[in-house]
């Protein structure tokens, strides 16, 4: 029998190793898996690479993980959101590494990892600093940069409904990076507002098929980032 439901947040993040690449869903405050991040904080792994669009806000969740010195490197498109004070302090002090990636390239690189694509040519960033050191190639009369897949050891994502096979739906634009990150990690962990019986999510309405999901934990009243 397939049962991806785990009984606790601790079980959901168990086994994340030091040095792991952790993909974290969310855009701004929407879609951030706050409870899973808190569980990761408690879990204790260190030297992490965190891939996420923004670099945390305030002093909670991702920002807290960084403030604890647990994050070696951030891969993101926009680390300078309102309130990204922790990241800015660490960056200014040279205590955290940043790989800045254009937002669409960030998403496409994770999609490539999930879809078995070894690399792709994108017009984004051609002629800019973010293409420096990368192969540029003219294809069909246009210049493109070669970008490589970005794979996670773990993805932490926030869903709305889930079932024991790991099928997921999302709430409105909280969907953002989650379906792509689910494809791109060796172990994908979803917190869902509600776990429903198998078959309750109509097949045509499943957004992330369970094949991409390894663990599901129910979090009925998820916190917004920054909420204590």
């Amino acid at each position: 029998m397939i049962n991806k439901i785990v009984p606790s947040l601790a079980a959901a993040v168990a086994g994340i190793r030091d040095g792991a690449v952790v993909l974290v869903s969310g855009f701004g405050a929407s879609g951030i898996p706050v409870e899973l991040i808190d569980a990761l904080i408690d879990q204790g792994s260190r030297d992490l690479t965190v891939v996420t669009n923004n670099a945390g806000a305030g002093r909670t969740d991702v920002a807290k993980l960084m403030a604890m010195g647990r994050v070696r490197k951030v891969v993101c498109s926009y680390p300078r959101s309102a309130g990204s004070v922790v990241f800015e302090e660490l960056y200014a002090a040279g205590k955290i590494e940043l790989e800045l990636v254009p937002q669409g390239t960030l998403s496409e690189r994770m999609r490539a990892a999930g879809a078995g694509i070894g690399g792709f040519y994108t017009p984004t960033a051609v002629g800019t600093q973010l293409a420096e050191g990368k192969e540029v190639r003219t294809l069909n009369g246009r210049d493109y940069v070669l970008e490589k897949p970005l794979k996670g050891d773990v993805a932490l994502i926030k869903a709305e409904l889930a079932d024991r096979w790991g099928n997921l739906t999302y709430r409105m634009a909280a969907r953002n990076f989650a379906p792509t990150m689910a494809m791109a990690a060796d172990v994908t962990v979803a917190q869902a507002r509600r776990i429903v019986d198998l078959g309750r999510i109509p097949p045509e309405e499943v957004i992330t098929p369970g094949i991409f999901v390894d663990r599901v934990v129910e979090v009925p009243n998820p916190k917004q980032p920054g909420q204590e």
Partner: protein
């Protein structure tokens, strides 16, 4: 008559008039987002957001904000009938694939060759942040820049070549400033409209690249 630069609202109003009926439009943070308020009521425009939304409507009434309905600037939005939700990778497939008819973006500098600089001053004190700017610059079918004509210190933001790090090369089609409306053409910058009372020679002085006044130029109407 003394020239009176446009206010931010007036720039937005001027741009709103040019957004075509039926267009798929991505709005940058700030001034570009304002422009949506001034599209004539008989036009239907579909607004796109990088976080997976098409069909954004006006801001919600206070107390009706939904934390999972926000635009790229993280402001709360509403959905119009006909709206759709999709994931980030699809949102950027729309951008990169040329499906967005028009991106309205802010800028720090624009080159006479259409180069766009709007993500970094190169100041290493601050961590760099790019968001979706490079994707939009490279991918949108048309790019219009909305900005003040000069910096707060009066330095020109329109230059022969950008001095700040580029966002995308040769992509800007049109520039709306508080002083003028300027097309970026293969033959250089062509001034279509000038704020009332401003001499062309004055405009040229505030601009770091050669301007040419269109034969059919006129005063900006707002």
């Amino acid at each position: 008559m003394a020239a009176k630069p446009l206010t931010r609202d007036e720039i937005a109003r001027r741009v709103g008039r040019d957004i075509p009926d039926g267009a798929y439009v991505n709005l940058g943070i700030g001034l570009p987002t304002l422009a949506a308020n001034y599209v004539p009521a008989d036009r239907e425009v579909v607004y796109h957001s990088e976080n997976g939304i098409l069909g954004m409507g006006p801001a919600p009434k206070p107390g009706q904000q939904d934390p999972d309905l926000i635009n790229a600037g993280k402001q709360p939005i509403t959905l119009l009938p006909g709206a759709s939700i999709f994931h980030h990778t699809d949102a950027f497939a729309m951008i990169r694939g040329g499906h967005i008819d028009l991106a309205l973006l802010g800028a720090m500098q624009v080159g006479a060759n259409g180069d766009l600089a709007n993500w970094s001053t190169g100041d290493e004190k601050f961590p760099p942040a790019v968001g979706g700017a490079m994707d939009l610059g490279a991918g949108a079918a048309s790019v219009w820049v909305l900005m003040e004509h000069t910096t707060k210190d009066g330095a020109p933001k329109i230059l022969e070549r950008c001095t700040y790090p580029l966002t995308a090369a040769g992509v800007v089609d049109r520039i709306y400033t508080n002083l003028a409306v300027i097309d970026v053409t293969q033959d250089g910058l062509v001034v279509r409209e000038v704020v009332a009372g401003l001499e062309f020679s004055e405009l040229q002085k505030k601009t770091g690249a050669a301007l040419r006044l269109a034969n059919d130029w006129r005063a900006i109407q707002v």
